[in-house]
């Protein structure tokens, strides 16, 4: 099952997490605080951001990416998929049920 790694500005992160759960595109979203270092226009930048780890299913992954692109304030957001090699079975079932009833 995919965990989707998304970074977002702190101010937009809670609403994005809520949208994904409300629209049943993720069963659960873990939000963590991060300091991001990157290069932009040739300069090293450092920003406070949030990392969102969205727990979803293969079936709705494409719809989740589409929704994140619609809602995200950046033109080029970080959206990455990491497939789990194993998931505790009852938790996997809860995840599948949480996104299934759309």
């Amino acid at each position: 099952m995919p965990t989707v790694y998304i970074t977002a500005p702190t101010a937009a992160a809670d609403e994005l997490a809520e949208t994904l759960v409300e629209d049943r595109l993720a069963a659960c979203v873990n939000r963590l605080s991060t300091t991001s270092t990157y290069r932009w226009d040739g300069e090293i930048q450092r920003d406070e951001e949030a990392v969102l780890l969205a727990k979803t299913t293969a079936e709705v992954y494409d719809d989740l990416v589409t929704r994140v692109r619609e809602e995200h304030p950046y033109d080029v957001p970080c959206i990455e998929r990491f497939d789990e090699d194993d998931v505790f079975e009852p938790f996997a079932e809860w995840r599948a049920e949480s996104v299934a009833n759309r």
Copy 2:
């Protein structure tokens, strides 16, 4: 080698991390603070929790899952396995030794 992603209530997280290291089911556990958004009984909930990233080996993975289920306060805990595609060799050896002497 597997990294195991576990979420737990803040109050239970440190003890769980310590148990896994003490019982040589993980060489090391990284604990991060998270805000979790999820649906429960039809309502969107938001809770402060901890993410535990347990560094272990394929050999003891099943025993680690069994122990987490025994110690975890939730009936349906989030327990997910992510296999690394590469590990710095001396760190991999330290991990293997740390869980081997059981």
Copy 3:
């Protein structure tokens, strides 16, 4: 594309992140605060550290590991590679460009 998971002492983490971006070994590094529990010399230890998640490419991965080993204050640092199963295409392109002009 690889995300590289590195742990480092809090005091060394920002400089390490900046070095990786400055030397075009990573397009972006997310730094998160963590409490690490591990066994050292038979005793359970608990330390405040940082987790660095470096977004890079397969081409420069080996050079990134070499640089982390040179700069890292530990003899046996945690350096782990997790390959993404999918990346939002424009973000993947930005990553590739950010590390390519070396």
